[in-house]
């Protein structure tokens, strides 16, 4: 049954049940899978798999994927569409066949259809209201008075058991926000209820109009990126036995079931076409002055295409280094920018090599890479199954700003990575967007580094890596972050923080995990996650279960904490000082002798009362460590000894000589502040003037920690996380302290800032 209640309101947010099935069903599934392993590609096997109760598709067969063998689906689309570039109109028919799961608890009476283009119909759609793109609608309307797009089914007919087509009613629904003006989701009242295991066949005639590109889809005159253009069946969640279709929201994207697509596209002559899948022979001849092309692709959850009269294409085959079929990559770029294809090739082919090795095989035989022209730039940086849009194809990329900069290539790598997380794993983008965007952001950084090394991220000779950009992006928004990553739906993050929660936090969390637990562990987690859940619409708990199983409890505990906490960690040096140690004024007893010290002169000349540990006769540095503890963890003040590193004094004679020479001791006190996470330890280093370094591992559970040291050398420096392992630390500028400022930097920046001020004065005087 399709529920009209917002899907997220029925979710149990705090804990998600892992996938479980009744014992008998699991046994049956295991038997079926054994047969499937033996008799690959047989029709019987496909039927058996389909009859078994699984999620949308059977668990992936990795060896088969490496050979390009795709799993069967229960949904298929056959679409005929015609584009009129002048009016931006689309007209077409969708033949949809869907087999309901046999495990459905009751006959299905209503099915949802997505009409995503209606998000661009007017200013008050849900998407328009929620979109925080810095998009000035006023300016846009000034340039394009009629940019709107829409999608309307003109006739929906259901094939009955008798074989006839009967008209079915449709009506718009707004289960997420009740916005009566939003028509991105409609429900079809079936004329005949659909029994479990039965096949639904709908014939939908539709009319649509592509918007002038506002975001993701649209076109004008001679360029069209046609995405989210046809009435699409909402996804059915077999775990919860319900449709989980949502309206189209600003911060999030799309979700649908895997299907087989067979699409015929009718465009004017002279228009080049690129699309999801491979081109096959059309079923009929085109009309005069028109072109008719047909594309087919199995086991994808969307179909997008691009067309234009000023585009050129280049085809290159590439066999990914990590296995998988040879991929025919087609690069579609604006005329005059074909020389930029080499840039895209390096990114895409390198990306395929890295991802196929580290994550899993790319199982499709085709990939289309589109570089939109400048006026289509709002369709750039997007991903669709086997079709991605890179950054624009324009002379701008040849300018001094971008010619040697690899940011355009990084965008292509990012969109390619989506083929895995969005395209193959296909988690629900609207509910758990971070499983795609966040994970992909982590992988795009790794992939870019692997492909380009140090070449990436330079601006005017200064490095600017994706990682540091993400950290800077997160720190800018830290004041507004007050929600957990693992919170759904993803369109309801605090305004302005969706990018931080969905992209940056998960990516930096994974980077931190990589530094802490090792790259090999993370690779194992992702390759297992992919192998187990490709085509499976995984949820966060599925990923965490794999992390625990393959990476260990500590890894899973860290990831879970990072995804469920509402704050981002910030370690910082709160206070640090070092001063000459002096005998305490007053009366005290040492070694049975009473001492009274009244004046400062007396204090200077003596080290009476000095703790014997400060003399370090045993060669260790003694540190008083104050840890206040946390809930369930008692605090303490303990003396700990550390073997100093980087100190050449090993002999006691040298120590004695030094001590008699110095007769000066210093008391150094350091206080650190931390986020108080349970699973985020951090390294702390204290360095002294005599070269001694003390390394401590703070478990990070308390919200602060203090160190006190008395020894014959002043504290020179305090460092938290010197190696930069905690990528998630939102402000790295406060992770250290030096007693003596770096003179060169101080003078350089100080004098330069003054010169800037003087230059501004000169400018003011010159112009006014």
């Amino acid at each position: 049954m399709v529920s009209n209640e917002p899907e997220y309101m029925n979710d149990v947010i705090e804990e998600r049940e892992p996938r479980t099935r009744p014992f008998e069903v699991r046994v049956l599934c295991s038997v079926v899978h054994v047969f499937s392993f033996v008799a690959v590609n047989s029709l019987f096997l496909s039927a058996a798999l389909l009859l078994s109760c699984t999620s949308a598709l059977a668990a992936p067969d990795l060896p088969a994927l490496r050979r390009g063998v795709l799993p069967p689906t229960s949904l298929s689309y056959r679409i005929d569409v015609r584009l009129d570039p002048k009016s931006r109109a689309l007209e077409g028919t969708v033949h949809l066949r869907w087999r309901a799961p046999a495990s459905a608890p009751a006959p299905i009476r209503r099915v949802p259809l997505h009409l995503y283009l209606n998000a661009f119909a007017h200013e008050q759609t849900t998407w328009m209201r929620e979109s925080h793109r810095g998009f000035d609608i006023g300016e846009f309307l000034g340039r394009y008075p009629d940019p709107w797009g829409y999608s309307e089914p003109t006739a929906v007919r259901q094939r009955t058991r008798a074989g006839t087509l009967r008209a079915a009613m449709t009506y718009p629904i707004q289960p997420d926000d009740g916005n009566p003006l939003d028509r991105t989701l409609v429900e079809v009242m079936l004329v005949e209820p659909l029994a479990p295991g039965a096949t639904l066949e709908l014939v939908i005639d539709f009319k649509a109009r592509l918007p002038i590109p506002i975001a993701r889809t649209g076109g004008l005159d001679d360029y069209f990126l046609v995405a989210q253009w046809f009435p699409k069946l909402g996804a059915y969640d077999t775990r919860r036995q319900r449709f989980v279709a949502r309206q189209f929201h600003g911060p999030t994207e799309f979700f649908a079931d895997f299907a087989d697509y067979d699409v015929s596209i009718d465009v004017p002559s002279g228009f080049l076409v690129g699309a999801t899948g491979a081109r096959v022979t059309p079923r009929k001849k085109p009309a005069p002055g028109r072109r008719l092309l047909r594309y087919r692709q199995r086991a994808v959850h969307d179909f997008a295409w691009v067309t234009g009269s000023a585009l050129v294409a280049e085809r290159h085959a590439h066999r990914p280094a990590g296995g998988g079929p040879t991929v025919n990559v087609r690069y579609i770029v604006p005329r005059g920018t074909a020389h930029q294809v080499t840039r895209w090739r390096r990114a895409v082919e390198g990306g395929l090599d890295v991802l196929s090795r580290r994550v899993g095989p790319y199982p499709y035989a085709t990939l289309t890479v589109v570089a939109p022209p400048w006026r289509g730039r709002n369709t750039s940086g997007m991903e669709y199954p086997t079709l991605i849009t890179a950054i624009v194809g324009d002379d701008l990329l040849d300018s001094f700003l971008l010619a040697d900069n690899k940011v355009p290539e990084e965008v292509a790598i990012h969109e390619l990575g989506h083929q895995y997380f969005y395209g193959l794993l296909a988690s629900n983008e609207q509910v758990d967007a971070f499983l795609d965007e966040g994970f992909n952001s982590y992988w795009h950084v790794r992939t870019s580094l692997a492909v380009f090394g140090r070449e990436i991220g330079h601006v005017l000779g200064r490095s600017l890596s994706s990682l540091t950009r993400m950290q800077a992006g997160l720190s800018r928004r830290v004041g507004a972050i007050r929600e957990a990553v693992l919170r759904s739906p993803s369109n309801l993050f605090y305004p302005g923080t969706a990018v931080a929660h969905i992209y940056f936090r998960p990516a930096l969390t994974l980077r931190t995990a990589e530094r802490r637990f090792g790259r090999a562990a993370i690779d194992r987690v992702f390759s297992t996650y992919y192998a187990r859940y490709a085509f499976g619409h995984p949820k966060p708990e599925d990923f965490l279960a794999v992390a625990r199983e393959v990476g260990g409890e500590a890894l899973e505990a860290f990831l879970r904490e990072a995804f469920t906490r509402r704050d981002v960690p910030d370690f910082r040096v709160d206070a640090a000082k070092t001063a000459r140690w002096r005998s305490p004024r007053g009366r005290f007893v040492v070694g049975g002798t009473t001492h009274t010290i009244k004046t400062d002169d007396s204090r200077d000349k003596r080290d009476t009362g000095l703790d014997r540990r400060a003399r370090e006769k045993d060669g260790y540095v003694w540190v008083e460590v104050t840890d206040p503890g946390a809930v369930g963890l008692a605090g303490s003040v303990r003396w700990r000894r550390f073997k100093p590193r980087g100190d050449k004094r090993d002999s006691s004679r040298a120590a004695a000589k030094r001590e008699s020479r110095a007769r000066r001791y210093y008391e150094s006190v350091v206080r650190l502040i931390g986020p108080g996470w349970k699973h985020l330890p951090v390294s702390v280093e204290l360095r002294f003037d005599d070269g001694a370094r003390v390394h401590d591992l703070w478990d990070g559970r308390a919200t602060w920690r203090a160190y006190r040291v008395v020894r014959a050398a002043r504290l020179a420096e305090v460092r938290i996380d010197r190696a930069g392992d905690i990528a998630l630390d939102v402000d790295r500028t406060n992770n250290g302290w030096r007693r003596v400022p770096e003179r060169g930097l101080k003078r350089d920046l100080g004098l330069w800032s003054t010169a800037i001020g003087q230059w501004l004065m000169t400018a003011l005087g010159a112009w006014l």
Partner: protein, 338 residues
């Protein structure tokens, strides 16, 4: 308005070359300007060293590889931005002091007086310092109004160019222009146009000041018109101050950019600091040169007719009042008539 004496009037049509020579009192004028500037910069220097010292205590900045990575540099700029209010305040104060110095210097650099002194060796006249202070104060308010006038024109120019940019960008977008055209070429052309306007306005400001001081005028808008008429008489020479100042600013920006890119230490840093000091000295000398040349230009033969233009208002307000009164009169006449 002061009387002119043909006997001491400049006879040559050269203005910029003779102005290169240091007249009597030039070093005093330049010295005062440099000294005031140094004193004004001192609080900024101390504050900047304090802020940069705090930065230099953080290993994030101190241990970063040179040149500082982009994000590290951006963080440094964020911290240094705390100096902006001080810079803004000092810049405004400098603007006021600059007018005082300019007024006094323009008065001192009267070509008639300089010629007369050269002939008569009359040293009983007030000193350059005294003239700087006395005449600078006398003309200060008028010169500040010149600044306000030019600032208004600059603002209107910026608004106009901004609207033009939107309109041109829209047309370019609709015509299918490339990203390079819209994002690089167009802004570059508009920036050049803006700089061209600043050259004109900068020259206008200087010549208006020179005429204000030369004739003791007080009507800024009228004086600006006189300056514009002077432009007609010397179409290219009139623009020299604006061009020189633009080049000077560009040179300073280039020096600062090179300084930042090279991240100098030790002797290299001392070199950049010395180069910057040299820049400030050059800038002061050019200030003197342009003021003197402006006085010579206005004292030249071609400007003779302009010196007789009265220092009268445009009469805009009077015209508006007349129109308002005329309208009221015609209305009352028509109601009075039976």
């Amino acid at each position: 308005m002061s009387e002119t004496s043909d006997r001491f009037a400049p006879r040559s049509d050269r203005f910029y070359r003779p102005a290169l020579a240091l007249a009597r009192g030039a070093l005093v004028l330049c010295g005062w300007r440099l000294l005031v500037r140094a004193l004004l910069t001192l609080p900024l220097l101390l504050s900047a060293l304090q802020v940069s010292g705090a930065l230099a205590r953080r290993p994030y900045f101190a241990d970063a590889k040179l040149p500082l990575p982009s994000v590290v540099l951006l963080h440094a700029f964020t911290k240094l931005a705390s100096l902006l209010p001080l810079v803004a305040g000092l810049a405004l104060l400098w603007l006021v002091i600059e007018q005082l110095l300019a007024g006094g210097a323009l008065s001192w650099l009267d070509p008639m007086r300089l010629s007369r002194e050269a002939v008569h060796h009359d040293t009983a006249q007030p000193s350059a310092s005294r003239t700087l202070a006395r005449d600078g104060l006398a003309h200060l308010f008028a010169l500040l109004r010149v600044s306000l006038f030019v600032a208004t024109l600059l603002f209107l120019t910026q608004r106009g160019l901004s609207l033009a940019r939107s309109s041109i960008a829209d047309s370019a977008e609709l015509a299918g222009a490339s990203g390079a055209t819209i994002m690089l070429t167009l802004p570059l052309l508009l920036t050049l146009a803006f700089l061209l306007v600043t050259v004109v306005l900068s020259s206008l400001a200087l010549h208006t000041r020179a005429i204000t001081v030369a004739d003791g005028r007080r009507r800024v808008r009228r004086t600006a018109l006189v300056a514009l008429r002077l432009w007609r008489r010397h179409p290219l020479r009139w623009l020299v101050p604006g061009l020189v100042r633009l080049l000077l600013l560009a040179a300073g920006a280039a020096l600062l950019f090179a300084w930042r890119q090279s991240a100098p230490r030790g002797a290299a840093l001392a070199g950049f600091a010395a180069a910057w000091l040299g820049y400030l000295v050059l800038e002061t000398y050019l200030w003197y040169w342009l003021l003197r040349a402006a006085r010579l230009l206005y004292a030249g033969r071609r400007a003779a007719a302009l010196r007789d233009v009265p220092d009268a208002p445009w009469g805009v307000l009077r015209l508006l009042r007349y129109l308002a009164f005329w309208r009221r009169r015609t209305t009352s006449d028509s109601t009075a008539t039976p």
